[in-house]
């Protein structure tokens, strides 16, 4: 089984995003960038499907292809995935940040070329927070989708996925090929070992451009401004639990 894992280079999870003074966006100059954390979980699960870790049978995945759409430096993000155990990469270069619909259209073209049995990807990127590309890719391909996975089993021509939903967990079986988007609890991604990082340098990354795929990526949304959220007024410290209860009662919230 071939698995395609789309990954995105985003602001590092531990860096606080700062809004630019001219309100045109978030300042990414000289900011640490990393693989989107949810995508890292998707790469890890794909590698486990290949290695036969946890409940997966060895060789469930036979080839893992990682694809990223972004600037030249997104090669580093792909290398990270290759060092974790993916087999080869595709970088589709784009200097502009494509909207989720455009990303889904480009990925659809990649899927038609690569013909994976499973697309495994993060449920959302931590920059745009749209939580949309996986669902849109599934729709464009007319494939079933299973989002927010906290457990994945692959066998018998289907993916059985336990999903994190409001109020609990839901389990679905989706016929392959399918798109599965992953949530936090699916696994804990590994750190690549030094030998694997060295090996990853020899793995192939095919360089492409968005134009190679001939899809309409024109933006549909215009960002008018990006602003900081309103700040909360500074609060007061209370000395004891008793004073706290009294204060809350007089404020009318208890």
């Amino acid at each position: 089984m071939k698995v395609l894992v789309p990954v995105k280079r985003v602001i590092d999870y531990n860096v606080k995003a700062r809004v630019k003074a001219d309100q045109t966006g978030v300042d990414l100059a000289n900011v640490k960038m990393s693989m989107n954390p949810f995508d890292e979980i998707a790469v890890e699960e794909a590698v486990r499907l290949k290695e036969g870790k946890e409940h997966h049978a060895a060789g469930t995945a036979t080839e893992i292809v990682v694809v990223s759409i972004g600037v030249t430096q997104a090669q580093e993000t792909i290398r990270t995935a290759l060092a974790m155990g993916a087999d080869r990469g595709i970088l589709i270069q784009s200097d502009s940040d494509l909207e989720p619909l455009a990303v889904a259209k480009v990925l659809k073209a990649v899927v038609e070329e690569e013909k994976p049995d499973l697309v495994l990807m993060g449920k959302q990127s931590i920059d745009g927070d749209n939580n949309a590309v996986g669902q849109m890719l599934a729709a464009l391909l007319d494939w079933p989708q299973a989002t927010f996975a906290s457990k994945l089993e692959v066998g018998g021509g289907k993916a059985t996925v336990t999903r994190e939903i409001d109020g609990g967990l839901q389990t679905l079986a989706a016929e392959l090929p399918a798109v599965v988007t992953v949530d936090l609890r699916l696994n804990t991604p590994r750190y690549a070992s030094l030998p694997n990082i060295m090996k990853a340098k020899k793995k192939e990354i095919a360089m492409k451009a968005v134009a190679d795929y001939g899809v309409d990526t024109a933006p549909r949304l215009k960002v008018q401004k990006v602003t900081e959220p309103p700040k909360r007024a500074a609060g007061v410290k209370v000395a004891s639990a008793a004073e706290l209860v009294e204060t809350l009662k007089s404020a009318g919230v208890l």
Binding site: D129, G168, Q170, A174, L184, P229, G235, L244, V245, L254
Partner: protein, 309 residues
């Protein structure tokens, strides 16, 4: 202009996220219809018909719709889409699951998690875990939008809309296998007036429940947790408050032993009153708290219980 709101419900009761989404829909202008997808959901449709400002309720029933399978919801809404300028759903896990799928089928850019309607084509939504707000204008003729319900007031009751039956779609390649819903007598996290949340400081799952459960019961509150507490296995994932978990905005939010990581703050900073109890006076949670108590939870929570009487 006509707007379709896809209702959020549990099969028997309509959730107030629907009322809040109707409010957002009303701000776009024009007629507002509500679509109830489900199985045996006539009671939900009846409740939706009573929401003030609703023109009519559409009821679609089918096997895959009882569990809101994305493919089935998409197949149900697609034939109705021609009659609407915008389709809105609450940004619940269901809404987030089917709305982008629907948008792709309609070839429009989905607009996720809006917190404000600026104009019928312009919306504000949080990005970067709530560290920034973007105002975006859509050039699509039809819009597919999910609504962060905590940012909108609930539409009132008093309507008497008609109910029409429409055809339900199917999910031919997806099978519902089962579900494990958390059973609790406490209010639901997303809808509770008071939320008490515990963090990693609680140290173990046993301690988490021993400290948080009685306090929640005393206050009639829902229990939440930080991602750190969830990652450490002290609390189940659906307790998680934060950008990657649930976004809550109760009347009163009490954070116990939570340092206040960015991603947690993103999930609760719109609460009306925030109380923080933490032994570290420099914890970032105090920067957003209205009332802070610098104390070890081990002494503070029993004292709090005693003071509540």
């Amino acid at each position: 202009m006509a707007v379709l709101v896809i209702a959020d419900h549990d099969g028997s009761a309509l959730r107030d996220t629907t009322h809040k989404t109707v409010t957002a829909a009303g701000q776009l202008g024009g007629d507002v219809d509500v679509l109830v997808v489900g199985q045996g959901a006539q009671g939900v449709a009846d409740a939706a018909a009573k929401i003030a400002g609703v023109r009519k309720v559409l009821l679609a029933e089918g096997a895959g719709l009882g569990k809101a399978l994305a493919e089935a919801v998409e197949a149900t809404v697609l034939p109705l889409a021609a009659g609407y300028d915008a389709i809105l759903a609450p940004a619940t896990t269901d809404g987030k699951n089917y709305a982008p799928r629907l948008a792709a089928k309609l070839d429009v850019a989905p607009i996720s998690d809006i917190v404000e309607v600026v104009a019928p084509d312009t919306f504000v939504r949080p990005i970067y875990a709530g560290n920034a707000l973007e105002t975006i204008q859509s050039s699509d003729a039809k819009k597919v939008i999910t609504v962060r319900s905590t940012a909108f007031a609930a539409a009132g009751e008093g309507g008497s809309a008609s109910i029409e039956t429409v055809a339900g779609g199917e999910a031919p390649k997806t099978t519902f296998v089962g579900e494990e819903m958390v059973k609790s007598d406490r209010p639901e996290l997303g809808a509770a007036k008071i939320v008490v949340s515990g963090g990693r400081a609680l140290g173990s799952a046993e301690e988490f429940h021993a400290v948080m459960d009685p306090l929640a019961d005393k206050l009639g509150a829902a229990v939440g947790a930080s991602r750190a507490a969830v990652d450490a296995g002290y609390a189940p994932n659906d307790y998680q408050v934060g950008q990657t978990g649930k976004v809550v905005a109760p009347q009163l939010y009490i954070a116990i032993g939570i340092s206040g990581a960015i991603q947690h703050l993103a999930g609760m900073k719109d609460s009306k009153v925030i109380v923080a109890i933490n032994k570290d006076p420099d914890a970032p949670i105090f920067q957003v708290a209205d009332y802070g108590l610098v104390a070890d939870y081990k002494t503070a929570v029993p004292e709090l219980m005693a003071a509540l009487g």
